[in-house]
């Protein structure tokens, strides 16, 4: 089931990124294509088979996992900028791009890199499961490393939640409100990842479901806003032609 969820999410994300290519070539919101492409890469890196292939190419010391963390940070950072600008969340925008946001990003990154290199990471293993199983010290280090990797995304998306909730209740086109609701659900899901350490290991599937719910909500939410724009442009165009007749 988890595998299906992963590959489906990958397909949806890749298709959305591909669908953005024409408008990217026209120069419309290039960073959106970047966001979708980065998301696709992130999902690819979190699935076992592609992870092993890529990590082997990078030397087999799980550098691909570190890469995955930074791909996620990049996606979240640019998504945070676009969403906070689009929804007029000036406070969230200042928080993410201001000194606080950059400081959080730098500290989290430094901690993550330090933790990564203090581990013996030889032997490709998606999610560092094999590394975690080595001994108690490595188990703890992997937990801290994972927590650091979840901290920055949670920081960014939680800053966006109030603006999303406001947008759902505003008088905006219905598709945009649905999109805002999806983004809010995705943001809450990312926020929930902070609770992963207290989830018992036998409920490990819950972590996957929360992660992929978040990604799917973000991808579909962002795509819906785009759809709403296209739909609006088309109906506005029709209105113009019909009034000219």
């Amino acid at each position: 089931m988890i595998e299906t969820l992963q590959w489906t999410t990958l397909a949806i994300c890749a298709l959305t990124a591909a669908a953005r290519i024409p408008s990217t070539l026209r120069g419309e919101n290039r960073s959106l294509f970047g966001i979708f492409a980065l998301m696709t890469l992130a999902i690819l890196l979190s699935i076992q088979a592609p992870y092993i292939v890529i990590d082997q190419a990078l030397g087999g010391i799980n550098l691909a996992n570190l890469l995955l963390r930074f791909v996620i940070f990049g996606t979240i950072f640019f998504m945070g900028i676009r969403i906070s600008r689009g929804f007029g969340a000036d406070n969230a925008y200042r928080l993410i791009t201001g000194r606080t946001g950059i400081l959080v990003l730098l500290v989290v990154s430094a901690v993550m890199i330090a933790l990564f290199f203090s581990m013996d990471t030889a032997g490709s293993s998606a999610g560092l499961q094999a590394i975690s199983a080595k001994d108690a010290r490595h188990f703890a280090l992997v937990e801290y490393y994972g927590a650091a990797g979840r901290a920055y995304p949670a920081f960014v998306v939680l800053a966006l939640v109030p603006a999303m909730v406001r947008a759902v209740r505003d008088r905006l086109p219905i598709l945009v409100r649905v999109a805002a609701a999806l983004l809010a659900v995705g943001a809450v899901a990312v926020g929930l990842t902070l609770l992963f350490p207290v989830i018992p290991p036998e409920l490990g599937q819950v972590e996957f479901i929360i992660n992929y719910t978040a990604i799917l909500c973000f991808v579909v939410g962002l795509a819906l806003i785009w759809v709403a724009k296209v739909v609006n442009a088309r109906t506005a165009g029709q209105r113009r032609t019909s009034s000219e007749m």
């Binding site: 919101n29 959106l32 600008r85 689009g86 947008a167 008088r171 806003i225 724009k229 296209v230």
Partner: protein, 243 residues
Amino acid sequence: MTLSAKAFQRWLQGIAPDASTADVCRVSGIKRTTLAQQLVRGKVSVSTVVSISRAYKINPVAALAGFDAYTALAGPQRPPTRSELVSQVSTPDLLRALLARPAMDAALGAAAPALSATPHATSVKNWVDAIDDGEVRHRVSASTGVAPQNYSAQLTANRLSPELAVATALAAGVGPAGGLVATGIITEEEAGWPPGARQAALDSLADGELTALAGDRLQAMGKVLRRQEQDQAQTEKIWENLG
């Protein structure tokens, strides 16, 4: 509220005993599928009864009065109040009337063109404002069980269900058919408003009253327009960044 299909069939028997449903639809211009669906669901809309009444040259108000939910419409029609009449003058007509007053522009002074037919773009809201003593909304929501915010939402959209329109008129103590005129279900003539009554009411307003009224209308219109513009700007911004 809709009318029961049973009562509707009985009423139809009374006015067109030999007509088939198809005949009725043809003369009244109602789509056959629409009427069939309303009959199957057992709920016939007020506008269906109004259309059929007009086709058979019956006063729609009198026809509606024969249904249980609308008995309040029975009896001699009460004349509208002056503020009701003025509320049913559209804002452009009101402004033209104001501009034609010598007090505004002595040089103009020409007669304003004839008023456009009811209803107008904000007719429902203006009508309720015209008859509201400040408590009408509460009384309507108490008597009908409709939540105040749903009632306000209908007014903002310049809509009011026929049931609420009649309930509002009753709660305000004005002629029961006035709300049906404001919502455009029936014409002022069908409601028994004398011809030219709106024009006469408008003419009877003193310059000061008319100017203040026009000011109120413009202020309300400005608020609506500003809100629309803000919503539009917000949407544009979302699309500009995320579309």
